[in-house]
């Protein structure tokens, strides 16, 4: 178990390093650099100073090496765009993305999984209806859900149509601020959660259908286990194995989806920051965002492994040996 975890952590570290270094190199080798942000009428000494400050005079490999050495001591350099240390910017943005993603994941889980159990184990109108709605939601990717929800919000005024806080709430106390964020959260979270919930529903239904046709389910039924108990205690537990794998991938889907949702609904998260950084060729901010994204991915895959561990005794035994 420990060795297994260590191996996964080593892979995670490798992922973060690979992703952030390739992002840095890519940005560095791209035509143009961050000094174009200064405008065409920038003074030569300003440009020279910016180049010096962001190591653009060094060779790409030299720059990468210097950055990596400093990053090992948790100094991720400065952002040109914001004129501030990258680490603070990333921490804020990553927190916002995490709030959004975790909310969406929770909603998708509590909606998608139970519905999947229903559609996977039953026939009839109800199941067909859920299946139809799910197929519909699956066909509306986050770009469209967020646009649609923004449209609905601006039409009805039920929810704020974008952003994370209102202008008025900035100077208010923290409780008012929290309430304000809570009012802004449902729209992007729902936009992200809808397609994911549909995915969970479809996969859970598929796993459930496969499981209830297995001999052990018939055997349990013959022993007199009630249908309800059978579904939850026997069939659902057995179907968890394939669902755990899905969770490991959900983190990738959440990150991809959150970029679009953050962009459309103006949620100040990691995806939006990465986009701004890329456009401005803000080298260290790009590298920092990529590193943070890599951390998210690594957390997702480790959590999925742990879930699998908890859900499937066969995996526990296999790794114990």
């Amino acid at each position: 178990m420990i060795r297994f975890l260590l191996r996964r952590l080593a892979f995670a570290l490798l992922l973060v390093i690979a992703v952030s270094s390739s992002a840095l190199l890519l940005t560095r080798l791209a035509p143009g650099d961050l000094t174009t942000e200064l405008g065409p009428r920038a003074r030569a000494e300003d440009i020279a100073r910016a180049r010096e400050r962001f190591d653009l005079n060094r060779s790409p490999v030299g720059q990468l090496g210097g950055w990596a050495l400093r990053a090992a001591r948790f100094d991720f350099g400065d952002s040109f765009l914001y004129d501030r240390p990258v680490s603070g910017l990333i921490r804020r943005a990553a927190g916002n993305t995490a709030v959004l993603a975790i909310t969406a994941l929770a909603v998708a889980t509590f909606v998608g999984i139970p519905l999947g159990i229903i559609t996977g184990s039953r026939r009839g109108g109800m199941a067909a209806l859920i299946r139809g709605v799910s197929l519909l939601c699956l066909s509306i990717p986050p770009l469209l859900t967020s646009l649609l929800l923004v449209f609905l919000a601006s039409r009805t005024g039920w929810l704020p149509a974008g952003g994370m806080t209102s202008v008025e709430a900035v100077d208010a106390g923290w409780s008012a601020w929290l309430l304000d964020v809570m009012r802004h959260l449902p729209l992007p979270a729902l936009a992200l959660a809808l397609p994911l919930a549909a995915t969970f529903e479809r996969l859970q239904a598929q796993a459930m259908t496969e499981t209830i046709h297995q001999p052990f389910v018939t055997a349990a039924l013959a022993r007199g286990v009630t249908w309800r108990q059978l579904l939850i205690d026997h069939a659902w537990r057995a179907s968890l194995r394939s669902m755990c794998a899905v969770y490991g991938l959900a983190i990738g889907a959440l990150l991809s989806g959150s970029f679009v949702v953050e962009y459309v609904t103006a949620w100040p998260g990691l995806g939006r920051l990465m986009y701004e950084a890329l456009r401005a060729r803000d080298v260290y901010l790009v590298a920092g965002c990529a590193a943070m994204g890599g951390v998210f991915l690594a957390i997702g895959s480790v959590v999925a492994d742990l879930l699998l561990f908890a859900a499937d005794p066969r995996v526990r035994e296999a790794t114990a040996e």
Partner: protein
Amino acid sequence: MRAAGGVLLVLMVFVAVAAPWLAPNPPDQQFDTYLYAPPTPFHWTSFSSLRLINRLERRFEVREQAVPVRWFGAGHFVSSADANAPLLLLGADSYGRDIFARLVYGGRASLGISVLATLITMIVGAAIGGIAGYAGGAVDEVLSRFSDFVLVLPSIYVVLALRAVMPLVLPPAQVFALLVGIFALVSWPVVARGVRGIIASEREREYVTAGLAAGAGPMRLLAVHLMPAARGYLLTQATLLLPAFILAEATLSYVGLGFPTSVPTWGTMLSDASNVALVGEAPWMLAPAAAIFLVVLAVNLVVQGRGRSPIQFDVDGRRS
């Protein structure tokens, strides 16, 4: 269900191909008095033309006099008989351009990119995956590790990064080629990985030995005898990649990294509709969203009709 999805897909492709004939107006003609005009009320033989009465509030009134509709005339499927009263089936956008015309022309770019990118991805992925699966050894090892790595990354960020580091302003033809290239570059490992698995297990079969004994070279064996085994897999992958690419184009154009806004694609049209306040008042600007939805739905119906979920995972939990 499967048939319905297929029909829908064929219909979309037809609409894109027949765009110049179907669209009543050229996609870039600007009707200056029709900015944000709502769809014109349509009555089959005639339509009620709209007249701007308040430019600031974007208010239009329906003219009393109906304008006759011309079917199959002047090289168009349907068009207005009166040059001064344009037929705007889905209203007009912020420049007073016909949204319906832009939608059908936009289908050409959006579908064209995704079909071409899917084809290239399939060919490159099948070739590399086939060679790795057939050759085995170090080639196989390198390829598998590389595609494992690529599979972990959320592809939209990779696409975004690759596009963002290229010059932002390019002529439309170059953007088209660039996007196709980037999409294929990001997604071939997925295809290669699956093909590799199929070929690697297939080459152990007896018919391969028989083929070798009969004097077939490795290339011939691979292309003629082994590749058909991966046909089903390739078909499934194609149906999954097609909508993903449409969406990728839409996302890139939406955030301003795709086509310039003058070129009609579903993405640039959506970015035109991104103004929150306006979308609330002019919902017809969301028409490209409906088009994207229809394509994705059609593909999901086709895949679902085969009795499988649109998203599939193999035992390791990797997307297959």
